[in-house]
């Protein structure tokens, strides 16, 4: 995973959640720490799918709870 893609994902999530990039550490929990609700979650998923031209299976969504896991997920699906 290049730093470039990592930065892309961080910027994308930052923009949707309206959270400064420097506060988006890999471990900060989307739901508990950033109060991401179902609306924000689907916005992240839709933006992610559009950017990487993939479909995220619905059952995978609850497993992605922080930026680190999202980056790892991207690594797995993009090879």
């Amino acid at each position: 995973m290049s730093n470039n893609i990592e930065e892309e994902i961080r910027n994308m999530v930052s923009e949707i959640l309206e959270v400064p990039v420097d506060k988006l550490t890999p471990e900060v929990d989307f739901f508990q720490d950033l109060e991401v609700d179902s609306l924000k979650a689907i916005e992240i998923v839709a933006a992610f799918e559009k950017k990487y031209r993939i479909i995220v299976p619905e059952e995978d969504i609850p497993k992605i709870r922080n930026l680190g896991q999202l980056i790892e997920y991207t690594e797995n699906i993009t090879g």
Partner: protein, 145 residues
Amino acid sequence: MPWDQEKIKSVLPHREPFLFLDEVIMIEGSQKIVAVKRIAKEEEYFRGHFPGNPIVPGVLMIEAMAQASVILFSLDRPHIAETEPDYYLGKVKADFLAPAYPGDQLIVEANKVKFLDNAAITDTLIKVNDRIAAKANLVFSIQQK
């Protein structure tokens, strides 16, 4: 198969005077629907919006697009719609490009972007006389009771 207003009412909880779809004229699976709303000349809101210069309020166009989106969601997730959940519009990104007037027919189109059991995103638009009058990206939540 087109839907009349009775069929629409079987999915939407909305009723007059806040039901903004008359019929569904086209369904493409659960990817897209096209519906119609005929704007009567004597709609009550024209008395105030605006006196002597009646124009369909943009917020009502958004409501029509949201209602079309709920119908589309019900086609994609009938098992959720059957539970008669509450639908809450959460985010709207809209452009209003042309006005609609008394007597106009709104062609309301809703396209699926992403649907989950508890949230949905649609791209929608309204045409009046073959011209795009409004378009909107809608994000809404679905809360089962």
